[in-house]
């Protein structure tokens, strides 16, 4: 059957048959780099279009509908405009840090893509500490944001960056703890192990109530981590005009924008992997006929379907809720989410030890 697994496997075999191992490996690196950049661009285009269409649907508008069929090429046109725009650096900014910041934010979200499993056996790097790698690397992006806010020499940017710093550092905790809940149930940090452990049911179904609590906390925390409404205090356009990227324009702004959307994809992909079984089809214990039908759907469609479902939920939040205030945001994390997720982790550990999960 046609699948990503076979394609990647045949390319790999062909490369190692034709070239010597070093060249083959370097060529594979190159192919992967091109794929990632391509994926990055496509994700940016698709997600921005999706956001605009979803928001239009919720706001009784049509959304982009002029460029291409149904406005499909609107984001392409926008990107072209941003590329040809002058890359301005304002006076009196810290030039080096100002120009470096968008690249840090973007590179971080590119690196985080590495351990994510897009389809059955289709993964860049099945590192044995996959989940830890993701949480560790993704928290580096706050440095890029702080750098942008500080280097811009703008008070709005600085306030936005400070908010963002406080927010990401706080919400990293409960996101990490809710990820740990699944790690405890699985007993492994490896992404492929986590997905394989969900063969007979996704963790959100198998893990009783604690898994559902962890899932809800995870969704809230990652919405905050990606700086999206109702936690978009770092940008808060009605308060801080555009927050940390007020001074950015052209392609440098586009990189921030792109990184934001790719980050949304990444966190939703992690959510789908941990709680919704990644590329695993929907299986019900003994309903064999049903399970067979589900198996016919390619694994990549399962993965992207789940991910985009979660992305839709996060977009739904954005277009429905008002924004929190900074102190309320931190209260929510430190007084509610963190204690709940700690207790939840304890509960999950008990369940895992007593083998109460299915």
């Amino acid at each position: 059957m046609w699948s990503f697994e076979n394609i990647s496997h045949s390319i790999d075999t062909w490369l190692y048959d034709t070239f010597n191992p070093t060249t083959a490996m370097l060529l594979e690196f190159l192919i992967i780099a091109i794929c990632i950049i391509g994926l990055f661009a496509i994700l940016g285009l698709v997600l921005i279009l999706m956001e605009r269409k979803v928001s239009a649907w919720m706001q009784i508008r049509l959304g982009p509908n002029r460029v291409g069929p149904g406005g499909m090429f609107q984001t392409v046109a926008d990107t072209l405009k941003l590329i040809v725009k002058e890359g301005m650096t304002p006076n009196n900014v810290d030039r080096f840090l100002f120009n470096l910041a968008p690249f840090i934010v973007m590179i971080v979200s590119m690196v985080v893509l590495a351990p994510i499993m897009f389809a059955k056996n289709f993964q860049i790097w099945d590192i044995n500490i996959g989940v830890l790698f993701i949480t560790a690397v993704s928290s580096v992006s706050v440095i890029g944001i702080l750098m942008a806010g500080w280097a811009s020499n703008n008070k709005y940017s600085l306030l936005g960056a400070m908010r963002s710093g406080a927010q990401i550092v706080s919400y990293e905790l409960s996101a990490g703890l809710s990820i740990l809940a699944i790690v405890v149930l699985t007993g492994s940090l490896k992404i492929s192990d986590i997905i394989n452990s969900q063969e007979n049911g996704w963790w959100i179904f198998k893990g009783h109530v604690p898994a559902i609590i962890a899932f809800v906390i995870f969704i809230i925390a990652v919405t905050a981590e990606t700086n999206r409404a109702p936690f978009d205090l770092a940008e808060a356009e009605s308060e801080l005009t555009a927050g940390f990227h007020t001074e950015y324009s052209g392609m440098k702004f586009a990189l921030f924008f792109l990184a934001e959307y790719v980050n949304v994809f990444i966190v939703c992909a992690i959510g789908a992997t941990l709680f919704l079984g990644g590329w695993m089809p929907l299986h019900f214990g003994t309903a064999n006929k049903f399970n067979e039908v589900m198996d016919y759907i390619p694994s990549s469609i399962w993965f992207f379907g789940k991910t985009f479902f979660l992305i839709f939920i996060i977009m739904w939040f954005r277009w429905t809720f008002p924004r929190l205030r900074i102190d309320q945001l931190l209260n929510l994390e430190w007084k509610y989410l963190l204690p709940i997720s700690m207790f939840n982790l304890l509960l999950v550990t008990v369940i895992a030890i007593l083998k109460w999960h299915f």
Binding site: M58, I60, P230, S238, E239, T241, T320, P322, R325, Q328
Partner: protein, 381 residues
């Protein structure tokens, strides 16, 4: 030669930090939250506000001076450009002042039409306020929902008055033209439509936990302070001040219709929000009572072609969507006023902003400005 940077650095108000080393930021004159060219200089301690200093005059057009060279028929229409969201009511106030001076009796039909138009304007203004204020606290979708309903009112206005924003419909002695044949049908359609939608507004925003947390216990102003700052309108009624001109000094047919003066005693942003939400229902009920009872007769009293107010001073007051709007005319007996002074509600409401905002967060300030419902051309004139 003056360089741009020198001008900025010369201005000690905008860039130099306070002696304590506080953070001073400018909100406006171009800022998404000020809904116009209001300039607030905010002194901050971290995220906490220490002082708010509003700077006005960016859209000053000297409307009061302009009115001195316009005749008593003409000057009314300049006031549409002040509070452009309740232009009908501004025009109404001015027309009432001229009628007072000339002792013109307004025919009953014109009175009812005027009140209908006023209340529709109030509804449209409050709808826009609702959308803009929720956008200030970060919810973007309600703005579009509010505009959907406002569009219906604008269509009704367009049919009858010929314009959608600056209607110029009131003349001394009545209204300029009779209502459009479709008017009653369309208003009834609007009433049935909006009755459902206002419940939707409450579901979407009022009950939201995040929204309530953002609005409750912020921007508090006590009843005494509200009075001493001269606050009027829904903003003052949120602090428990009884100040509805429609009740206290009824004009036109307001003493014949049944409606409640909405008073909340909370004094915070949420109380001001609730007052406006309830006022929308009251306006709707006033429109509902009057729409089937428009008496027959003239829509305009017979007046002379050239109006001359007798020598003296004349004052009239009216309740706009934002508060009390006062018109003060000094006449020397000529065809143009000697001096005109407008008392605009936005100005005195803005004055209370500093008092409310101190000790709050930046996000609160934006929400407070939303609940004060500031219209900048109304403040600057």
């Amino acid at each position: 030669m003056y360089r741009e940077t020198q001008i900025v650095s010369d201005n000690s108000l905008t860039t130099a930090p306070d002696v304590d080393g506080d953070l001073v930021i400018n909100v406006g004159p171009q800022h998404p939250a000020t809904h116009g060219v209001l300039h607030l200089i905010i002194t901050l301690n971290g995220e906490t506000i220490k002082k708010v200093d509003p700077h006005l005059g960016y859209i000053h057009r000297s409307i009061e001076k302009m009115c001195e060279s316009l005749s008593y028929r003409q000057f009314i229409y300049v006031t549409s450009r002040m509070d452009y969201l309740s232009s009908h009511i501004n025009n109404h106030g001015c027309a009432m002042c001229v009628e007072k001076g000339l002792q013109i009796e307004v025919p009953p039909r014109a009175q009812v039409i005027r009140v209908l138009m006023d209340e529709l304007t109030r509804l449209a203004s409050h709808q826009l306020w609702w959308g803009a204020m929720t956008m200030d606290v970060g919810a973007l979708t309600p703005f579009f929902h509010a505009f959907r309903e406002r569009e219906m009112i604008n269509d009704i206005m367009e049919e009858t008055c010929g314009a959608r924003l600056t209607m110029n419909y009131m003349v001394p002695g009545g209204v300029m033209v009779d209502i459009h044949p479709n008017f009653q049908r369309k208003v009834k359609e609007f009433i049935t439509h909006f009755k459902n939608k206002i419940d939707e507004y409450d579901e979407l925003v009022t009950g939201n936990v995040i929204f309530q947390n953002r609005m409750k216990r912020v921007g508090y102003i006590s009843k005494e302070d509200a009075i001493s700052y001269g606050m009027t309108g829904p903003s003052a009624r949120g602090s428990g001040v009884q100040c509805d001109i429609r009740k206290l000094y009824p004009y036109e047919v307001y003493n014949k219709v049944k409606f409640d003066e909405i008073i909340e005693t909370g004094g915070d942003s949420f109380a001001r929000y609730i007052v406006r939400m309830k006022e929308m229902r009251q306006s709707l009920s006033i429109v509902e009572q009057l729409i089937d009872n428009i008496p027959d007769g003239d829509f305009q009293a017979k007046t002379k072609a050239v109006l001359k107010l007798p020598k003296g001073e004349f004052y009239s007051r009216i309740e706009t969507a934002r508060g009390e709007f006062g018109v003060y005319i000094v006449s020397e007996g000529g065809t143009t006023p000697y001096r005109i002074k407008f008392r605009s509600p936005g100005f005195s409401n803005l004055c209370a902003l500093d008092h409310m905002a101190r000790g709050g967060k930046i996000g609160d300030l934006i929400a407070m400005m939303g609940t004060l419902d500031l219209v900048i051309p109304d403040i600057d004139r």
